[in-house]
């Protein structure tokens, strides 16, 4: 283990996270009467992790094993992974901030330590998912994240739906990860290894076992697809999103999806790509037609997400379907199989983080007051709570992908990648989906502005913190819509996925 020290250097953020987790548990025991300090501890832990993530090297392998290929690590540190880790840290910090003002979370103050401990468990799981280059590590970190999120989905226990969400998530998740594990075992049988690079090397030799390989791929995709909630593995999404506490819903919709996408991209790029040419186009190993599979899945995903969202009256549920649709758009970035697509996903994800968090923040603030997320609560809101309503409109417009918001830039890059790959038909389908999506986003706008305020209309005056939080999300959405250069530059510098170039 000569490289142990070196490996530990590479996993500093994860170490910090683990320490923070333990500190949280200890603090929870120490301050069992007044737990006000716990969120700040969590924040400090997250910020420290963020700093260490920023300090991470741009490439490196941790925990190298001696294999038939020489030394191959099971944990890759690269700019791509760092990008997603930063996204996860940002969203985690936001979640901690959200939890300050969420009524649901405030009602379970005595268990707040456990709440943050579980969130840290999730973060840790996601960090490992993002960096893992070994299927068994992928599986276990996925489970780490899932187990935490199962509990978190039902954590508040305030209403029936919390428990129900938790149970559904558990069963669905367990089956999906079970399928994935079985798929992993098949890959293991076919190649003798679970390491991406070795699997890749072996798959490059043509062999006759393509059916089994396809089987394994589909099963593994079931596990990943469930995390990114792509059709047909999305069914848990709306139920769990609706049932879970809103902070957790938000977190699931962005962070865990980010981890899922990072995994999907890394898995495909390092396992199924034989080489990537000078323009960044990937040559996919012919043994499995990932491209067609993902095209169909992404089209189905966005179509189903959008069309079903048309009928939703619960905002959380509506945003759940919208997040399914967004998963579809994001998958389009994968199916072009090029660095361009990855760039588009990176840009889109950051934008998605801003706008989805923004939208959920507003929903949370409203539901703090009304106790529900029904769309009728929003009638006339534009007249009583202008700041929130205007911000909500901006987030929704951004989600729909209209200029001059950042959402447009995200979509633009997706479509640029598609047109570059000459996949015009897919681009048209996606654009038509955008039009459909506009309908339900605008429906919320309609309720806020076109419906008259009544005596039941809420007046929500956000406190200073929440106002700042809203602005912190709104302003980048607008600024990146007009000046997106820094975003693109950052994403451009984060394209490096450790692999066999």
């Amino acid at each position: 283990m000569a490289n142990l020290y070196q490996s530990l250097e590479l996993i500093r953020p994860e170490i910090v996270l683990s320490i923070a987790l333990i500190v949280l548990v200890i603090f929870d025991l120490i301050f069992h009467v007044d737990k006000k300090i716990i969120p700040y501890v969590a924040l400090v832990g997250l910020i420290a992790t963020g700093i260490f993530t920023l300090l991470n090297p741009q490439s490196g392998f941790a925990f190298q094993q001696t294999n038939l290929m020489g030394k191959i690590g099971i944990f890759a540190v690269d700019s791509f992974g760092n990008y997603f880790k930063i996204l996860i840290i940002i969203s985690s910090i936001l979640i901690v901030l959200y939890s300050f003002s969420s009524e649901e979370i405030n009602k379970i103050q005595e268990r707040i330590g456990e709440y943050y401990a579980l969130i840290f468990g999730m973060i840790l799981g996601m960090f490992f998912i993002v960096s893992a280059t070994d299927l068994i590590l992928v599986y276990l970190s996925l489970e780490l994240m899932s187990l935490s999120s199962y509990v978190l989905a039902g954590f508040t226990k305030l209403r029936d739906r919390n428990s129900e969400a938790s149970l559904k998530y558990l069963i669905y998740g367990a089956v999906s990860s079970g399928l994935m594990l079985y798929g992993i075992s098949l890959i293991y049988g076919l190649t003798g290894s679970t390491n991406f690079y070795i699997v890749n090397m072996i798959l490059q030799i043509p062999n006759a076992n393509q059916f089994t390989l396809a089987f394994a791929n589909v099963l593994i995709f079931a596990g990943i697809g469930y995390k990114i909630s792509s059709v047909p593995f999305h069914f848990w999404t709306p139920d769990v999103y609706e049932g879970a506490p809103i902070t957790i819903t938000t977190y699931l919709s962005v962070a865990s999806k980010a981890a899922g996408f990072a995994l999907l991209i890394r898995f495909i790029k390092t396992t199924f790509v034989s080489f990537s040419d000078s323009f960044g186009n990937w040559q996919v190993i012919s043994s499995f037609d990932w491209k067609t599979l993902l095209i169909i899945i992404s089209i189905l995903t966005m179509t189903l997400g959008n069309f079903t969202a048309l009928w939703q009256n619960n905002l959380k549920r509506l945003l759940a379907f919208s997040s399914i649709a967004h998963a579809g758009y994001l998958l389009l970035g994968v199916v072009v199989f090029s660095n361009g697509g990855v760039l588009a996903i990176l840009i889109y994800f950051f934008v998605y983080l801003l706008m989805n968090y923004g939208a959920f923040l507003i929903v949370m603030l409203i539901s703090n007051k009304s106790g529900s997320e029904n769309i009728d609560d929003y009638d006339g809101l534009g007249y009583t709570s202008p700041l929130l309503a205007v911000s909500f409109v901006i987030f929704l417009v951004s989600l729909a992908g209209l200029p001059p918001t950042a959402g447009f830039i995200g979509k633009l890059y997706i479509f640029i990648a598609l047109v570059d790959a000459k996949m015009i038909t897919v681009a048209i389908i996606a654009l038509l989906n955008t039009v459909v999506s506009l309908y339900y986003y605008v429906r919320i706008v309609k309720h806020m502005y076109l419906n008259k305020p009544t005596e039941n209309t809420l007046t929500v005056k956000p406190n200073l913190g929440n106002t700042i939080l809203t602005l912190v999300l709104v302003i980048p959405v607008l600024v990146f819509g007009i000046y997106f250069q820094p975003l693109v530059d950052w994403a451009k510098n984060s394209l490096n996925i450790l692999g066999l170039m």
Binding site: L147, Y150, G154, F211, F215
Partner: protein, 166 residues
């Protein structure tokens, strides 16, 4: 057919028959007991596959831990006075079709795939030592990760199952 084969079939039949009862019997308690046999059967299979340590772990963890846990679950979620703890079924037809197709596909994939089969270089007496070595070398990271995972499971389970202060 040698002893090895006979043992295999014995364990296989125990495993599958009891697993079949697990998923079909209407009585939850029976089901749990059949699961016990399944676990034993699997442990036996492990033995046949030269995974002695694993077989022990299987019995200790599954039978000693998980199964008991499940039984507690059964007890806690049913009224004790109710001797006949039965449960219904749902989705029988679509499930049968789906699972039939799935099983067919899986079994045929298993049979017709040209798996890599290499004669074992040398079977060590026991796997414990090797496993132990691997755990603190190549799989150290995962090993640590599992530690965290168990911690999280502990916190989570305690948090969710605990009776709230009313």
């Amino acid at each position: 057919m040698n002893y090895y084969d006979i043992l295999f079939y014995l364990f296989a039949i125990i495993t599958l028959v009891s697993a079949g009862f697990v998923v079909t019997t209407r009585n939850v308690i029976y089901s749990a007991f059949f699961l016990l046999f399944t676990f034993f059967g699997v442990a036996g299979i492990y033995v046949l596959l030269a995974a002695d340590f694993l077989a022990v772990v299987q019995i200790m963890v599954y039978v000693g831990g998980i199964l008991i846990l499940l039984l507690f679950g059964v007890m806690l979620t049913n009224k004790i006075t109710n001797v006949d703890i039965r449960t219904g079924t749902s989705n029988l037809l679509p499930a049968s079709i789906a699972i039939g197709l799935l099983m067919g596909a899986l079994v045929s994939a298993m049979i017709y795939t040209g798996w890599k089969v290499q004669p074992a270089s040398e079977i060590p007496d026991t796997s414990i030592k090797n496993l132990g070595a691997l755990l603190i070398t190549d799989y150290l990271l995962i090993f640590e990760l599992l530690g965290i995972l168990l911690l999280i499971a502990l916190i989570g389970a305690a948090s969710i199952a605990r009776r709230d202060k009313e």
